[in-house]
Structures are given as C-alpha cells and as structure tokens.
Amino acid sequence: MYPDNYYYTKDHEWIRIEGNKATVGITDFAQKQMGDVVYVELPEIGTKLKFHQSFGVIESVKAVSDIYAPVSGEVMEVNEDLNDAPEILNEDPHKKGWVIKLNIEDKSELEELMSLSDYEKFLEGLED
C-alpha cells in the first residue's frame, strides 16, 4: 500500500521526487495514529524550509502533530483542498492528501531518507 517510488522519514512523512521538485505528505501510519483529521495548518507559499523544520500542523480531535520538512527547500504550492476537506488526509494520504510541493535546495539530503523497505522495517520495529 505504500508507493515504492517514495522516500520516507522517521516522523512518517513521505516525499516524492520529480527532478528538482518534491511533493510531501504524511503516511498511512501517521493518519491512522492521528485519527480523524479536523484541521491542517499550512505554510505560506515562498517559505524557505530547512531540513527537519516544522512547516505545518495537523490537528485531529484529540491530538496535534507537527509535519517536518524531509529536505530543505522553498514552498511552491500548498494543497488548498485540505482547508475545506481535511478528511482527504485520512482517505488518501499518499496521493490526494499531499500537503506541500517544494523546490529542493540540496539533493544530497535525500540520502538521509528511508526507502520503502527501510520504512516498512522501521514500522515493524515500532510495534511495542
């Protein structure tokens, strides 16, 4: 169920690379943990993000979670649909539920990310 051409982070973000552009969202594991999403705080277009900087907040009924930048870059687009229908993040976290699109600043940072198989192993390790 997790796309194999995506990269993943320990904070459960996914990132899809297309040349110098990246699309970022949260994984199915994350949306399940959050429960029903009620609100997403999105950054402004043009915001310059550093690796692992928090750029947004996802709120469910009982919890709040930061979303962290998997790479450094400038925010080019945000998913406005999430304003009216935050539930998209629960329904389709890997495609329609994308959160931001970035221009990647430093491609070497991608080496810090996990591949699908690494992420799946990581998830297994979390069961406690």
Partner: protein
C-alpha cells in the same frame, strides 16, 4: 470531623489484601529524612456546629450589614433572582468535573452552549467561549490573542480601562516583549481619539478600550473601531458592566473584533471580589486563536442532538507549549449562575433592569449636582456610574458618610492623581428613590459644615 468512609474492618481487609499491616508501610517510598516526624501545627479539628460558629464569628467581623453602598468600579450590586441560588446549588451542578466525558455531562455542556449563545446575542459577536477567570484576565488574554493574530507587538490601551485590569495586562505582557502605550482621556470622560489617531501606526496590534469606561462614560465605539481598522489593528472592547448591553448598541455592531469583560453583574454576589466570571467573544475568523474552552453542537450515533467540548487542540492539555492559553479550569458554576440569571430576566427583564439603572443613576447625578460644592466631573453620557468632584477633601466626606451608615463612591485620586477629590458613584436598580434622596441630603449636610 472527617469524611472517611472506611470502617475499621474495611481497613484491615484492605491492608491484608495489599499484604501490609499498617498504612505507614504505604509511604516507604518517601525518604525518611523528608518525612514529617510531628503532626501539622494547625488548630484542632472542629465539629460541624463549632465550624459554623467559627465562620459566623469571622463573617460577623465584616460590617457591611445595614450599610447603604454606592460602590461600583467593576463589582456591581444587582438583584439576584432566588432561582439562581436554588438551581445552582444542586449537587448535579456543583460536584461534577469538567465535561470531558460528554455522555454524562450534557447538563453542563448544554448550559455552556446556551451561555455562549447569550453572550453572542448580548455582544453582537459570532462566537463566545465557556468563560475565563475574570474580566481582567480576559482583557489580558484578548491582548495576547491580538498579538498572536497580527504578529505585531504594540498595544494601545485606554487609560479609562479599570486600573486593575490595566495592571493585569501589564503583568501578562511583560515577559513577552509587547509594548503597551496608554491613551489619555478628555473632559467628556471619553478617551482622546485625536491622540489615539496620532499614536496608532502599522505596528499596532490592537486598540483596547472599555465602554462604559471606568468613569461610567459610554465611549464612541464606532469611531474607535474605524481608527483601529484604518491601520489594520484589531479593536478590542472590555465591558465590566455588561448589564449596559441590555440597552446600548453592542460593540459587535460597532466594529469590534474582540469583546471581553466581566459578567459578575449577571448573578454573582459581590463576594469580596470572587469568584467572578470572565467572558470573551470574537469574530468567527479568529476562531483558531481564540482562548478558553468552547462547547459545540453535534449528534450522537443515534442521531440525537448533544454537546461536546470542541476545538480542544487549541488548549494546553493538547497543544502544550503552543496553546492559545494555559487556562484549564474555567468558572463553570458561575457561568451556570449567569445563564440562569439571564434566562430568568429574559429579553424584557434584562432591558427593564438596564433602564432602571440608567434612569436611577441619572436621577441621582442630577439630585446630587444640586448640592453646593459638588459637580459632575465629566460631560459624557453614562450608564449607571458617574464621577463627582467635591470642593472638600473626599476622604473627610467619605468618613462623614460612614458615620451616617453610607458607603460613598470609589476614591479616584489614588489611580488618577489628576482627579483630586473625585469619587466614582454607582446607582443600580437596588437603590430606591429614598436611598438616593437620603444620600443627597446627607451630602448637603456634610458640605455645609
């Protein structure tokens, strides 16, 4: 007296089950060098009759019985319908916890929802919260909210806001790098709108005013709102006497972005200053930065209408250091009293009570003005409070009034050094014409001496 419900047999059974012989063993985790080796040095326990006697003795040292008071200044004497005490003393309202389990707290939650609606109706705003501690901390929270919304750090605060409220704003904002500047007042008793226009700039987060203000004068709310909005600042209004909203056009219809204040007038006895009831209301676009608990309407799995605390992710128990406020407990039982009060008075009763206040205060001001040596200090229109200036030292007059069993107005000189020998008088529906005439007569006597 104690409130323990374990019999000797129960204690023994429980200790046995745990596998120990005395309760002392339960405290083995407390280091010996910290444990108290003596009993606390507090008075011996009182039985219920002794306790009642003791508290009656202490309350008897208060001398307010039989005194006719004209004090207001943020705490108002109003009639409290008997049903308010009667209903709010029910154990089902007094003893529950915060309604975090909504299925068993619909009573509390529906009352909160009704209160929020009543506050919206009174203030003319879109949304209201489930109360704050008091009017003063409400004013401080409104300032912090304006700062969060605009990300600007300059706040313009009217000097005609209750002095203690302004002190609280200072205390709350001091550690956050906000700069508070005061706006003076003019002879009408209102704030100096010219000075306001000069001081406001693009760095101003909000303009904060009180109406009716501390002097009892009704401010030009629309004018102030317009000045604020021209510079993209928020207009914040503080109301310490919300009974005035029974007849005055509410700030929500006059450009207010946030309205906050004190609802003690709605069913809380004077109680030496607390517990009271802060309220806050704002435009719906500011919802996410709005502090305090909020109740929302929803349905249950069977489709029945019900109420829950909602948008809790703004609050401290979830958002922790990024919460809109650290407020946890609110003033729910006071909120209940206010809701019963407002619904009992109802549309007509609240308006009637407000008009009684308006006319009685006006009658009093006119009558007392006839006394030689007393003058109305400000020319603006007031609701139920007015400032009088005296041609003799106020403290002497105050003391002579006391000899006649009257508590006069609030001494303004300590907070406003320029207002020498001025006092703030409050007249409500609790004052009969004879009380007012008596005050005027006695003041006349005192000033003739």
């Amino acid at each position: 007296m104690n409130y323990i419900s374990l019999s000797d047999k129960d204690k023994k059974e429980m200790l046995d089950k745990i596998g120990i012989s005395t309760v002392d063993e339960l405290f083995n985790s407390v280091p010996e060098n910290i444990k108290l080796k003596r009993l606390l040095d507090v008075p011996a326990a009182l039985s219920e009759p002794e306790l009642v006697d003791k508290l009656k003795e202490i309350s008897g040292k208060n001398k307010n019985a039989g005194l006719l008071s004209f004090l207001g200044a943020g705490a108002y004497q109003h009639y409290i319908p008997v049903v308010v005490d009667y209903l709010s003393s029910r154990g089902e309202f007094v003893s529950p916890y915060t309604p975090y389990q909504p299925e068993v707290s619909q009573g509390t939650l529906q009352v909160i929802f009704e209160f929020q609606t009543l506050i919206c109706q009174l203030t003319g705003m879109d949304i209201a919260n489930a109360s704050l501690y008091d009017g003063a901390s409400g004013a401080a929270e409104a300032v912090l909210m304006a700062n969060r919304l605009t990300r600007k750090e300059k706040i313009l605060v009217a000097s005609t806001i209750h002095p203690q409220y302004r002190q609280v704003i200072q205390t709350y904002t001091r550690n956050l790098g906000l700069s508070i500047e005061e706006i003076d007042f003019v002879n009408s008793g209102k704030i100096n709108t010219e000075q306001l226009s000069k001081k406001i700039d693009e760095e101003t987060a909000a303009v904060v005013c009180q109406s009716p203000n501390f002097f009892g004068i009704i401010e030009d709310i629309q004018t102030i709102s317009d000045i604020a909005h021209k510079k993209n600042a928020l207009s914040v209004y503080v109301v310490t006497e919300p009974l005035s909203l029974g007849i005055l056009e509410p700030p929500g219809k006059l450009g207010a972005d946030i309205v906050t204040g004190e609802a003690q007038a709605f069913g809380m006895p004077l109680s030496f200053g607390g517990p009271y009831l802060g309220f806050m209301a704002c435009s719906k676009k500011y919802l996410r930065q709005f502090p305090g608990r909020i109740a929302g309407q929803t349905k249950d799995v069977d489709g029945k209408q019900g109420y829950v605390l909602t948008l809790s992710t703004r609050e401290q128990h979830i958002r922790r250091e990024r919460a809109t406020s650290n407020i946890c407990t609110n003033q729910a039982l006071c909120l209940l009293r206010a809701t019963i009060f407002l619904e009992t008075l109802g549309k007509c009763g609240l308006r009637d009570m407000a008009t009684h206040n308006l006319y009685k205060a006006d009658y009093a001001r006119q009558k007392i003005n006839e006394v030689k040596g007393i003058e109305s200090r400000f020319s603006g229109t007031s609701f139920n409070e007015f400032v009088l200036s005296f041609n003799k030292p106020w403290v002497e007059i105050e003391s002579s009034l006391r000899e006649k069993l009257i508590i006069g107005g609030y001494n303004l000189q300590k907070d406003y050094p320029g207002l020498k020998n001025c006092a703030l008088f409050c007249v409500t529906e609790m004052h009969k014409k004879e009380d007012i005439d008596k005050l005027a007569e006695i003041l006349d006597e005192i000033l003739r001496q």
